[in-house]
């Protein structure tokens, strides 16, 4: 494993630890933002057109 990849993985683990340590209320606020983002992506006309093609 290269140093670069090791750093990427360590940074990812650190971010997950930081998020894990947040309070439930704070995590739920982030989760709501994720949900709104997912809904916006799902409703995007470009994505729906791609869906029809598939």
């Amino acid at each position: 494993m290269s140093d670069w990849l090791r750093k990427v993985l360590e940074s990812k683990r650190a971010t997950r630890r930081r998020l894990q340590a947040l309070s439930f209320s704070e995590k739920l606020k982030l989760l709501e933002k994720l949900r709104d983002r997912s809904r916006a992506i799902a409703q995007n006309p470009l994505r729906q057109r791609q869906h029809l093609k598939d």
Binding site: F24, S25, K27, L28, L30, L31, L34, R35
Partner: protein
């Protein structure tokens, strides 16, 4: 979410539901980093209507729709969140509901299924997203191994857990 939980707590005070606990991805978020999801799974103890021994979700639907909440497929939309009410299907889910931990969201009391029960339920359900969630729990190092072992033993899931380990955990433990 706070408003959604306030409505569910009111349902409990109005004796429409018994004990409840958050499961699924939102329940897992209590222990892990936020996991993207579009719905809220609520494990719920049902109360039989007076003079009736049959337990159904009808009182929940009646209560909420009479207050203007909409039904969409298997969900009731409560304050913006699609909520699925899940009565325990087996002894594992009954135990999970009984042992749920109390917490609060922005000052609102609520209950969440324990991490070990969430893992056991995910293992039993066995979809790809359930297995992915179990891996998050394992990698997060937050499971009480002896607690999980006892639950898996009690509910006949040890063999499934071993298969899961062979398939997904080789080299990570």
């Amino acid at each position: 979410m706070k408003a959604t939980l306030e409505v569910i707590n009111q349902m409990q005070r109005d004796e429409v539901i018994g004990k409840y606990a958050i499961g699924g991805a939102v329940g897992a978020t209590f222990y892990l980093e936020p996991l993207a999801t579009l719905d809220l799974d609520i494990f719920v103890g049902l109360r039989a209507p007076r003079g009736n021994t049959l337990l159904t979700l009808a009182p929940i639907y009646d209560y909420l729709t009479s207050r203007g909440y909409q039904v969409e497929k298997e969900y009731l939309i409560i304050e913006g969140w699609p909520v699925q009410f899940l009565p325990p299907r087996d002894t594992l889910e009954e135990e999970a509901l009984g042992q749920a931990v109390e917490t609060e969201v922005e000052g609102v009391h609520t209950w969440v299924i324990t991490a070990e029960h969430l893992v056991a339920i995910a293992l039993k359900t066995g979809r790809a997203k359930d297995f992915a969630r179990i891996l998050y729990f394992v990698e997060g190092g937050i499971l009480d191994a002896s607690q999980l072992d006892q639950i898996l033993k009690r509910h006949g899931l040890l063999e499934k857990w071993e298969q899961f380990g062979v398939k997904f955990l080789r080299g990570t433990r």
